[in-house]
């Protein structure tokens, strides 16, 4: 039995999927019908409208599920006039970021802004040809061996 009237916020999202707080533009807020069994991680909704209407929608938020989702391109339901199906896959990163992840402590392995360049974690590469320098010692006044001299050691 399909579940009707599930509010869904449909977005155009332009961020890399690895961004925690994604850059989104709300396009539609719709009451949708949940298709099939409830799957909080991969829900599918049925919407009224043409495929073109939802062609740029790639992200959604379902308040009832309290989750963000990546959205696949819409699909026209066969035999159904004016109905399309959209399928979402849970964006656990943004969902968690919005619900408390940012308050947690973590041991950070790599970071863009805060780092210790004296750690060698094997992530850097080097060329085979070393930089080779020859540096001579600098002598100050009175330093160095100077002129050679004889030494005569005599018994008695």
């Amino acid at each position: 039995m399909p579940i009707n009237n599930v509010e869904v916020d449909l977005y155009e999202m332009t961020s890399d999927r690895r961004v925690a707080a994604k850059s989104t533009t709300l396009i539609y807020q719709k009451d949708c019908t949940l298709k099939g069994d409830v799957d909080l991680r991969n829900p599918a909704f049925i919407l009224s409208g043409n495929v073109e209407t939802y062609a740029t929608i790639n992200y959604m938020y379902v308040p009832k599920f309290k989750r963000y989702y990546f959205v696949d391109p819409p699909r026209v339901l066969p035999g159904e006039n004016g109905l399309v199906e959209i399928t979402g896959h849970c964006d656990v990163l943004s969902t968690a970021w919005a619900s408390g992840l940012k308050s947690l402590d973590a041991i950070v392995d790599k970071q863009e802004t805060y780092y210790n360049l004296y750690l060698n974690d094997g992530s850097f590469q080097a060329c085979v040809n070393d930089i080779v320098q020859t540096k001579e010692f600098t002598l100050g006044t009175g330093e160095g061996f100077g002129s050679p001299g004889y030494v005569l050691v005599v018994a008695g």
Partner: protein, 595 residues
């Protein structure tokens, strides 16, 4: 609730608030047989009063609901504790002994208190009460008495105590079991006070309802495991709290020592002169002038003493030693016609300058083993310098030379005279006076050359070489190294471009052999360094795409807006996500996200 046995090492005792030693009996292990079944049998309790003629007053109360989920195996490890030792502390009404687990403090404790003292028939009887303090679990004051002494029946009586705690809720559950030992020392724990033949029904309807067992470290059965009981168990190595290191960043300054105060020429067995070329020519002329019949003294001295035999050494040093005003040269005590300036010092220092080192990349590549520094020293050859010891500092070299022999010690040091190393050799160029001298000199030179041959060419593959000392006057020749098998890496196989891969495939080459002694004066007279630095290959803005090593704890909110972040470890508390989602989240964080 499930109850488990706790480590005995956490059991602590206080007498009137002052720590006292936990007796060894705490640490004994005793298999408690059928304790659970015995305990359940005892759960149905009544209160009663013992016959006061025995000096007891006791009642008991058990909170049965705390013991519902006991399992027999929870009781299979424990120790009997002879409570009799408590009576040495419980002598007055003010005395209390507190038994607790130091992991939870005295919020979970047993308090043993002095109760009464009886003196009957010349025997001292001390009685005590037991009060249990259990946080979070309904508890009561279990009052029980015991006594110290021997009853009239000749039976020894002891009371046994232990501690059992719940690992999940940190609830301490205390069970005491009253045990009557017969004269054979057999504990009959299911039997009330009295002889084994007595039953509860025979004993005025009161019972001992307390089962108290000490937690002990579980001792595994003896097995054939060769590693069993061979030392400290891994669990004993656990700790809580921060690491207990004692970081000591201080460093001692190793200074160049003062010159030796002993001057060989002061003993007057020898004289040391510093002739110039004319002076040497004058000596030669003196040694090989013809006999003159008119110069009797001169002739006689040369007949009876060959002056050349008094010459111990004529050598050239790469510097002119300090000298004073010329004096007459004596050969074997005979004054010659030659005057030469005597040496005014035996030990002469030669400073050979300095070289400063600074980071090239500003990262780990500036240090050992990714940067290598080879120091080439006059009269010595090649020595390795550890970049970690000189980076950001100024490296200096000083030779301290014994003018008489030409031997020297070369000090390699950094700022503030911190000596990093010392190397010995000889820098005298011997002047052969006789044919014997010449033969010996050639032999020495050939010996140096033979030894030096091993120092040329390819030493071995490896990222770091180990110094080797020859017997040639302390000369050090660098050779050998780690991972000689890595030569195979060089023969056509693919070498990964990771820094460590490059390092292990590199071949070390020695830059000099033996240059001491006579040949040394023809060598380089100024130290120099050959520095090998890894050539890093890092794309622009690599930190944006993959981050740089961090290895620090952050609150993620502090990294908001700070870009790429990969998480090595995080405790995902408080997120209302399914277990699968949390697992996916952990993987995403480890791979790297943008906050």
């Amino acid at each position: 609730m499930t109850y488990y046995v706790r480590d005995l090492k956490h059991i602590k005792l206080k007498h009137n608030g002052v720590d006292i030693d936990v007796p060894d009996v705490f640490k004994s292990f005793h298999m408690i047989n059928n304790a659970l079944s015995a305990f359940r049998t005892e759960l149905a309790t009544t209160t009663g009063t013992m016959d006061p003629s025995y000096g007891f007053n006791h009642y008991n109360r058990v909170e049965c609901n705390a013991f519902e989920n006991l399992r027999n195996e929870d009781f299979t490890r424990g120790a009997w504790f002879d409570g009799e030792f408590l009576f040495q502390y419980l002598k007055t009404g003010a005395d209390t002994v507190t038994l607790y687990n130091d992991q939870y403090g005295t919020d979970f404790a047993i308090n043993f208190r002095f109760y009464n003292h009886y003196d009957t028939g010349g025997n001292d009887y001390y009685a005590m009460t037991i009060e249990t303090v259990l946080g979070g679990v309904s508890h009561g004051s279990y009052v029980m008495t015991g006594y110290h002494g021997i009853d009239s029946g000749g039976w020894y009586r002891k009371f046994y105590f232990g501690v059992l705690t719940d690992k999940d809720t940190a609830t301490g559950i205390f069970y005491t079991i009253s045990v009557l030992e017969n004269s054979n020392g057999v504990a009959e724990y299911t039997v009330d006070y009295g002889s084994p033949s007595y039953t509860r029904a025979d004993w005025n309807n009161y019972k001992y309802q307390y089962y108290l067992m000490f937690a002990d470290d579980y001792s595994p059965p003896v097995s054939n495991d060769p590693y069993a009981n061979t030392g400290e168990a891994a669990e004993d190595q656990l700790q809580t709290g921060p690491a207990q290191g004692d970081p000591d960043d201080s460093s001692d300054v190793i200074n160049i020592p003062s010159k030796p105060s002993l001057n060989l020429s002061a003993c007057q067995m020898i004289n040391v002169y510093v002739p110039d070329l004319t002076g040497v020519q004058n000596v030669a002329s003196y040694l090989w002038t013809n006999f003159d019949i008119h110069d009797v003294n001169n002739t006689l001295s040369k007949v009876f003493t060959d002056p050349s035999q008094c010459i111990l050494s004529l050598h050239v040093l790469p510097f002119t030693p300090e000298s004073s005003s010329a004096i007459t040269v004596t050969f074997g005590g005979f004054a010659s016609s030659v005057s030469l300036p005597p040496a005014s010092e035996q030990y002469h220092d030669v400073d050979c300058g300095s070289l400063s080192f600074s980071e090239y990349w500003g990262n780990y590549l500036d240090y050992n083993p990714y940067t290598r520094i080879c120091l080439c020293l006059p009269f010595i050859g090649q020595v390795d310098v550890d970049p970690d010891e000189v980076m950001g500092k100024t490296l200096k070299v000083k030779y301290r030379v014994d003018v008489i022999t030409g031997s020297f010690v070369c000090f390699v040091y950094v700022d503030g005279d911190k000596v990093l190393g010392q190397y010995a050799g000889n820098m005298a160029q011997q002047v052969p006076i006789t044919s014997a001298d010449y033969s010996r000199l050639n032999a020495a030179i050939l010996g140096v050359a033979a030894t030096a041959a091993t120092g040329f060419g390819i030493a071995a593959a490896g990222g770091f070489s180990t110094p080797q000392t020859t017997s040639d006057g302390g000369l050090t020749i660098q050779g050998g190294g780690l991972n000689a098998g890595a030569l195979g890496h060089f023969a056509g196989s693919v070498i990964g471009s990771g820094v460590d891969n490059i390092l292990n495939a590199k071949v070390r080459v020695a830059h000099s052999g033996g240059v001491s002694g006579t040949p040394g004066i023809m060598g380089l007279m100024k130290p120099y360094c050959i520095i090998h630095r890894a050539r890093q290959s890092v794309p622009s803005d690599a930190n944006v795409f993959k981050g740089y090593p961090c290895n620090a704890k952050f609150n993620l909110s502090d990294l908001e807006g700070c870009g790429f972040t990969s998480v090595r470890s995080i405790k995902l508390d408080g997120l209302k996500l399914s277990d699968d989602e949390l697992g996916e989240l952990r993987q995403i964080l480890a791979a790297g996200v943008y906050l």
